[in-house]
Amino acid sequence: MDISDLKVSNNPDVTLVTYSLGSCIGLAVWDPEVRVGGMLHYMLPDSSISQEKAKANPAMFADTGIPALFKACYKLGAQKQRMIVKVAGGAQLMDESGFFNIGKRNYAALRKMFWRNKVMVAAEDIGGMVNRTIRLNIGTGELIMKVSGKGEGLL
């Protein structure tokens, strides 16, 4: 998957991978009942900076990408109350005053939406100055996270 990309699948042989998240957020969802899962790699918190771009590519923004990811999973038979939700990314530069901190805003946008829509997060690894890659196995729901320079493990 690329930056500002969304993919869903019900094929148990598929592994969705999103590389090198930086300050972007990788959101992985999976329904164990029907073994449907999906991943979103969004870049920015809020589509108000460009409605036109959000229309062309909803996966660019949290506020348009997150609903699109859930809807795409529902189409394949997933149900919200069964879905296991995991989040990674949102890293930041070394910048105490937060002038550059888009990662934090990306995460805050997701939290706000989840709180409003009563979505629980099962696991997350957010912030810091590290770069993350995540892989979602559609057959098992396992989410592997690799942190550059530090190795990988289950999230």
């Binding site: 590389y19 300050s23 070394m94 002038f99 770069n131």
Partner: protein, 281 residues
Amino acid sequence: MDIESILKDLEQLPPFPTVVAQALTLLDSPDSSAMDVVKVVQYDQAITANVLKVCNSAYFGLPGKVSSLREAVIRLGNKQLKEIILTGTVVKYYKNAMEGYALSKHDLWKHAISTAIISRIISKRFPGVDEGAVFTAGLLHDVGKTILDSVVDEYFNQMFALVGEKGYSFTEAEQEVLGLDHAEIGARMGELWGFPKEIVHAIRFHHAPPEGDESDLVTQVVYLGNVICLMLGIGVGRQGLHVRGRDEILEQHGMDINDLQVIMAGFLDEYQKVQDIIDLG
């Protein structure tokens, strides 16, 4: 491997292709014609082939396929032609995977071309900045990594301890452990290749634009282009985002986090068009 042998290796650095240097000079000269450029470049087949591939990428957006150097020269302006020739030339320095920085094949090239494009987008907000210099410095800013990689690999644990425990940026850790950072090595390469001073300066200070020097626009733009590119996760490797955020550069130019977002969104449109340029790497 240590820094002394790296500096010795640098003495053996292959020269920047003469034909390219000549072509770039010709493109800057008001007395030369486009055909003079063709005459110089056409004998280097590798460069000609790359130039045509770059011409035909979606990014440069020429309608129809450009099939000869002559046609490229006729259809493109000098400014664009310069960018294309440089892009087609510089790619060869970025060809290898780098163990030390944990960058796979293509990663550093992707980072270089993306930084050049982001920097060009940013330069629209810096009136008076030389866009061509910004693009070139963006392409070359990390070229020192290609030389420093093997030592970084060897001393990585020592460097990473400084980053993790003492709050060093990755570049500061390079300076402390190796005595020199990748930006300095890159600047020396630029000097050996005879690049203009402002480009060498931007390569040298792309992590730390001199404070109080508001006139140094090329360096500031490339600094911002590089950090935005890293935030987007393009060619980051294991240095991660251990790079200093310099708030005052945004402030000096009346920019804030919303401007960064607009730049990122604008870049993404371009990014989708550079895939075939990235594939050259």
